[in-house]
Subunit: 677 residues, 3 copies
């Protein structure tokens, strides 16, 4: 069964950010934009982001004429609108009259007016002013036939250290520790360095000028910032939903942005959406592609349904260190890759290039030159043509039997940990190593966390799961006991949810039984150092960075260290536990050992590969389906042309109409097939 972003417009969206208020004095451009929109095979405009100063030029004085006009124009031209709340940037009067809306830095410096995405999320005044404008917008446009969804603010983010936030933080912490200061003292281990808290009033921000040594504090402050950002967003949603409860809301998130736990934020949204800016053809080209694919899978998993690619760059961006042009075809493959993973849109930042200010050289569908006669415009047009050809895929979903755990709180705690390799723990990088092996085989993957239902998966991978609370421990235990395959690595289960070490040996509590091991010590290698590993079958691997000295206590040893003073000790183990199996990889490598284990698991578990053939390097395939039809996406990022790749069976090319069991792909090409009836 298909699920659409908005039932009233059951089509792929193709469009993006549009700032007509920048051209309010040259309105002939607005009409030209409508002409060009259709020419580019576009059907959507996201308007209202950063429009606050235009629609409320003075406090309480509203002027919606530009929005009235532009929304009507888009609709008249056959397009639809995603309407943004304007909270991403303040008008000047707001900062001037209510300085509390401006953030304070970690060093206690009051910010001045300027920039964007930098208001205090706690400020009651800011929340109230946003409530008023959001209500006005909802009242005015909530029933407009052009408007199909709400776009909340823009790229929520950042951290505020103002007194209002500090007061809110004290309350947050008090609630978390049940108003029991002894509980806080124990969990934060504050007796260390005589830092005992007498009451929750004593709680201050972590700060380079004050406390940085209490990891529980640091962690809770990260939690607070994420919580407060989400809470602000909830207040935005409340204003809108009070007026028009049926229009879906989304906000544009940013990959695995560190500051917000998107699992938490995602709870409040109807639709997930994100902004994707990979560095195509950069020196770390492959990593960029895999990372992007991983993010797509995360955003689909976040709401368990189709989502939006809210922003991407036509041509190039302007904020990478080196702003390379997108090569021919890359615009198309960049957009369709999103569709393959479950997106129901390909949207751009931005429709028309700004003439001035800091984004004037960011790629756009319409360049400063101003016509349809540019390479980039025509790349966009081609993507639009494909989207039209495959429009029936819109609303279908993706089914996965494999999941990878991504855990923001674990990442925060790990990164802050004093120990191992101090500066960089490489949590996300490591996770991508595991993901890549699945991607390379065309196996569909969900992203999940340890507080979600794992039982629907046959295989769960959770690398570097340093932090586990009691619930996570139970979840893992039950999952394996009931027949799941759980694959984890070094650093599992060292601390509880407050970054307090578990006593009695790692991994925590009965995880030692689940995995059948005890982890005594962890060695950290210098860059360039390696340790040899030998598998039971004699195959060699090479460990880098981290090697744990574990003891097998029931687990079967699949590989051993073969150099260093811990030669002969277990490096990879598997434990039969209940009906399931628990793998423990005690070292970091480039993914080779996992690839070999996966090879076995694919056949054991009968995991589906989108194409049942070994795929060339940097070629992958994905399937979308709705229970009735299946759609196959075959993607070539290899840098060379692929010809005659077997599809295993006959499919129908949705653009050419050809039926074949093989496919040819140019470099950076993607082809979309439908199953034969």
């Amino acid at each position: 069964m298909k699920k659409y972003i908005n039932e009233k417009f059951p089509h792929f969206l193709h469009g993006g950010d549009y700032n007509p208020e920048q051209w309010i004095n040259t309105k002939e451009i607005w009409d030209e934009d409508m002409r060009l929109m259709n020419l580019a095979n576009c059907n959507e405009m996201t308007v209202g982001i950063f429009s606050w100063a235009t629609i409320e030029p003075e406090e309480g004085v509203f002027d919606f004429s530009f929005l009235d006009e532009i929304i009507d124009k888009v609709y008249a031209a056959g397009g639809r609108v995603i309407l943004a709340t304007p909270s991403g940037a303040r008008p000047r009067w707001l900062a001037e009259k209510y300085p509390e809306v401006l953030r304070v830095t970690e060093m206690g410096e009051k910010k001045k007016y300027g920039g964007r995405h930098n208001h205090c999320y706690t400020s009651p005044v800011y929340r109230e002013k946003v409530r008023i404008i959001n209500t006005k917008l909802a009242e005015r446009y909530g029933k407009h036939p052009a408007v199909i969804a709400w776009h909340l603010s823009n790229e929520y983010g950042g951290v505020c250290y103002c007194p209002l936030c500090e007061a809110a933080f004290k309350k947050f912490v008090a609630k978390r520790y049940h108003n029991d200061i002894n509980e806080l003292n124990t969990q934060w281990w504050s007796t260390f360095w005589s830092h005992n808290y007498r009451s929750f009033d004593d709680v201050e921000f972590p700060s380079p000028l004050g406390e940085k040594s209490i990891h529980g504090l640091t962690l809770d402050f990260k939690r607070f910032t994420s919580y407060q950002t989400t809470d602000f967003m909830k207040s935005e949603i409340a204003a809108i939903k009070a007026v028009c409860p049926d229009l879906p809301v989304t906000t544009n998130m940013m990959g695995f942005y560190d500051t917000i736990n998107y699992w938490e934020m995602g709870e409040e949204l109807d639709i997930a959406s994100w902004d994707s800016y990979p560095q195509w053809h950069s020196p770390n080209h492959e990593t960029q592609i895999i990372s992007t694919a991983l993010c797509h899978d995360f955003y689909r998993s976040l709401k368990g349904r189709s989502y939006l690619l809210m922003e991407s760059a036509p041509g190039l961006v302007n904020w990478h260190e080196y702003n390379k042009l997108k090569r021919p075809g890359v615009d198309r493959v960049n957009g369709l890759m999103a569709i393959a993973h479950g997106s129901d849109s390909v949207q751009y930042f931005q429709w028309r290039k700004s003439r001035g200010s800091s984004e004037k050289f960011h790629g756009a569908v319409v360049d400063h030159e101003g016509t349809e006669n540019t390479r980039v415009f025509n790349e966009v047009k081609k993507t639009g043509a494909t989207l039209k050809a495959i429009d029936e895929i819109c609303g279908t979903g993706v089914v996965s039997r494999v999941a990878i755990v991504y855990d923001w709180e674990n990442r925060w705690a790990l990164q802050d940990a004093q120990g191992f390799q101090r500066r960089e723990k490489k949590y996300t990088d490591t996770l991508r190593t595991y993901y890549k092996k699945l991607w390379s085989r065309g196996i569909s993957v969900d992203i999940t966390n340890l507080h979600r239902d794992l039982s629907k998966y046959d295989l769960v991978i959770a690398p570097m799961q340093y932090m586990v609370d009691e619930e996570s421990i139970s979840n893992i235990e039950a999952y394996v006991r009931n027949g799941g395959i759980f694959y984890t690595t070094y650093m599992l289960g060292m601390v509880n949810e407050n970054d307090l070490c578990y006593l009695g040996g790692f991994p925590a509590k009965n995880l030692k039984d689940v995995f059948g091991i005890w982890n005594e010590e962890i060695d950290t290698l210098y860059p360039g150092e390696t340790v040899k590993i030998v598998g039971a079958d004699g195959k060699e691997y090479s460990a880098v960075d981290n090697c744990e000295l574990i003891h097998a206590r029931g687990a079967k040893v699949l590989a051993e260290y073969a150099s260093e003073f811990y030669a002969g000790r277990p490096a990879l183990t598997v434990n039969e536990y209940g009906k399931g199996k628990a793998y423990y990889q005690a070292f970091r490598d480039d993914g080779s050992v996992w690839a070999d284990i996966l090879d076995t698991l694919v056949s054991t578990l009968g995991l589906e590969e989108a194409i049942p053939t070994p795929l060339p390097n940097m070629v992958t395939a994905h399937i979308r389906e709705d229970g009735e039809n299946r759609y196959l996406f075959v993607e070539n990022y290899s840098g060379t042309e692929i010809s005659g790749l077997s599809l295993g069976k006959e499919w129908k090319d949705m653009e050419s109409g050809e039926i074949s069991n093989k496919v040819d792909l140019k470099d950076f090409d993607i082809k979309i097939f439908k199953n034969l009836l």
Copy 2:
């Protein structure tokens, strides 16, 4: 016709900064200095820099006895004095009583007393106190026969963010935009991110704590800082000229110092002068030499006449990262290189080494050791001997038919641009690449800008001229129409003088016609990446960093891209326009393609090379002339001895008196010849 710094002393100056107030308690040293001055073939002392605390120890209490004595002593010993105004460093009472004179940092931190070159240029109090002391100095020494010029302050520079400066900045901006806030909003494109200004009162400094996204603001603040610094200098000049209008004024500038538009500052001076500290024999030795030569040409061009090398280091400096000794001969070549380019002095920082504080290890003519028995003293002495031998060259000029454009405002805007290679645009480096090819052939070059008269040149080179205002566009157009050769590169004409993009395609407006091209896109390469270029004659070049995708619209294609997806598209074009030719080089390279074009232009235009022979690498030659006589400087920086280099015709060596059509040069040697009558 010769033009002297001061007609009363028509000789090369040889001397430098002298701080006798540091030795006021051991005056025997003053007499020793006079003896040593003559011994070193020196004839000039620059005094009074940083003397304020000595001559005005308390507010309104003046004591000129030390200056009286030392100026008389110098004169009695046969020397002359350049007298400095003392505004480069405050006495303590001034900072204590009038804290407004102290700067505020970008972060709003009030500076404390200390350092130098760090007073607020806006402060009325500071201007008034400087006016008083300058007037006193002018009254007392303006007619002293020893004093031949004024040296204003010392190395003006830096930026102040105090409230006085902010108020002045608001006025500056209001004037610039004709008191029309709408004009400002349009030019700064402030609707972007809702940052509309309601009045000029809303204008604040760009700041990491506030606004950094509006490039028009950033650019205008740079303009303001340059303007205000110059305005402060003008107030210094006014005080002096009111008393003694005839003595020339100068200030020591610093190469292509970023913060001040020296074109603007130079307008106010009688004489240009600068401080030159190349890193001889460093790993980037050649670059240092070419850069220094380029600066010399700039300072000569600034006032269109001879200038002063106000500071250079005897022996070594103390503030390079590695402070290498100047090898034997380098002191001499360092000084005479300046003379070759049009300087009428070789001056040093400093005459006698300080015993303490931060410059105690900076090279000096007289070392801590205190006698004439040092290597460095004798190097200086030799330079002095040469200067005496060639003294008749003093006051002559340099004639150039080629000019390179150097534009501070373009540099500021380019460097701040979000896009391309973000961190470093390499404007000055690129310019030097073009300059080097002329220097290597001994072709005389002026430095100019697009608001100056170009008609006197046969060839103008303007790389990376990203910013062009209407006047510049007209100037280029007229220059080419009337027969000039204009050579430019990628990034030409993208923005107007407020960093606002031109619409309708780059380069701006009718520059598309002048150059016969349209620049659609610009590709940025990662370090290490190259793109192949092939010339019409089959010769290959290699592009780095930037490659524009241009369309020839009338221009003749001289070279094409031969790799990447834009293979086959134009890379170098020339357009016949009016009586002239307009070259457009769409990519960055190491200068090779320009060298080949130059080869053609030299013969087409009949450009004079100082020696009509191909010169060995890192050997060059320059000519000074006064309409009557010509003087040839042949300089060897090659690291090896050169023998038998043909001079094309017979010249007379001004030191040995020999007449020859050949020259032998030791490593780091320079020889000076006079034409035969």
Copy 3:
């Protein structure tokens, strides 16, 4: 004659930091700790560090119950206690009620509560509160039979810029310059940049916001910080000694920590002790070992007697960039190396790992796992076994005929000097180069300074002694005149004790006669550049970084430069002066030239090598003795097994009891021998 830390406990101490207050709610762990202490062959616990909040939870409310109990428990289990004063970290009430105790940063930012080792050393309130708690502790535990020494605070350090400190600094400076502001102005050379001081009230901190150019100021502020820290420590000692004058006091110092002149601090202590955390098996493994040995020799020399290794890490630390496990045997060799150099203890940070906060992953004897069944616990146990076997060595000393000068003030001035290689002068690194050659031959070395008695040494080495006051000059002169061998290098004697250059040629004053040279200039090389040196015997050396152009004025030239423009000039000289000899090495090298000179000196002076055989690379030997017996330590850090190394004569292995004139050593092994009677 033996000298014990405390006559009441004439044994090696084996134990370390113990924080039972962190486990106050699970006291069963305290009993377990006592059991484990004995099991690990430990006999000492350092308690009370960071306990302030526990023993004085509110101002004036004391609760010593935990200390009472734990000290009794340790004693009952056969152990002894070193009791700490708690001043290393404040309780929260102290910071809240008396904000003056919190530091201010260099930028004027008031610190907030948090961290440790960060209180103002000037604050009268802090001193008073510390006096009260110290007095209470002394009264309560001063006579407890378990308590054998006082441990003052913890790792004193850091800098405060608060108004109280600034006032104290003004007084400090006034005293230093005899209340004569003219003396200050001369010594600081403040006329430079017009910075003349009118009175001592004008003196402010050096600051990035104010004055950074006056090196005399910077130097005196470093002196002040060191002085004030020591003065604070003296006030701690006074409180304790008033109650129990007989218990020895120590504090844990940190290698060659920059901020405190430990020569000065050491004066106030009964016993020296330090915290040692080398990076074993890191990429700069050898350097780490030599540095550690050098520090051990310093701490022995500081009080001229046995000292304590107060902290070292079992297993690993958590604050290195890469926290590698200590390989098997390294824990033992790390501890016994200290004993070899004269330590009477091997102590650890920490006994039991914290569960939370920033040191939770720092190595400990007892891990989170909590039992004796870990590798690290057993490594510690082995070290303890060896200590028991060699316990009779406790209290013996070390005799050296060679000394190396280490001078904090020289280091400060050198590092701050504007000149040479600006960022890094490499003073300590250079010194280690000289030390290593002695260490590699098993020659015992003291560390000294130029205000100490040199006459007891046959050979004194003082590299890079840039700063010398009159007393140092006299000391060197007298030492050489009376027959000493003095070996020094480039940069000798350039400035006086206020960083004011000596006039009349370097090295200062009659050092020119002592060394028979004049140093005219100093060349600084870029990284990678070398200059060739040739010895009188034709042997070649290679200079890096610094080459002085000296003139031999009586000295004999032992080596000359053989490349660069100073080829043929002296590079190494020796001068016969009085009954002694003065060597001057004008360049930096890798120690080769010094190794060759040492070779001669060993035979000339008859210097004793602990083993009269050439030692393999990274093998060394040390002797402890008490006038009656001699004990030989042979240490292998070579990375390979050593077998059959000749000991020169027969010795008795103190662990195995075997008598042999040869020794076999595993990698990272150490063996201890006693002389035969």
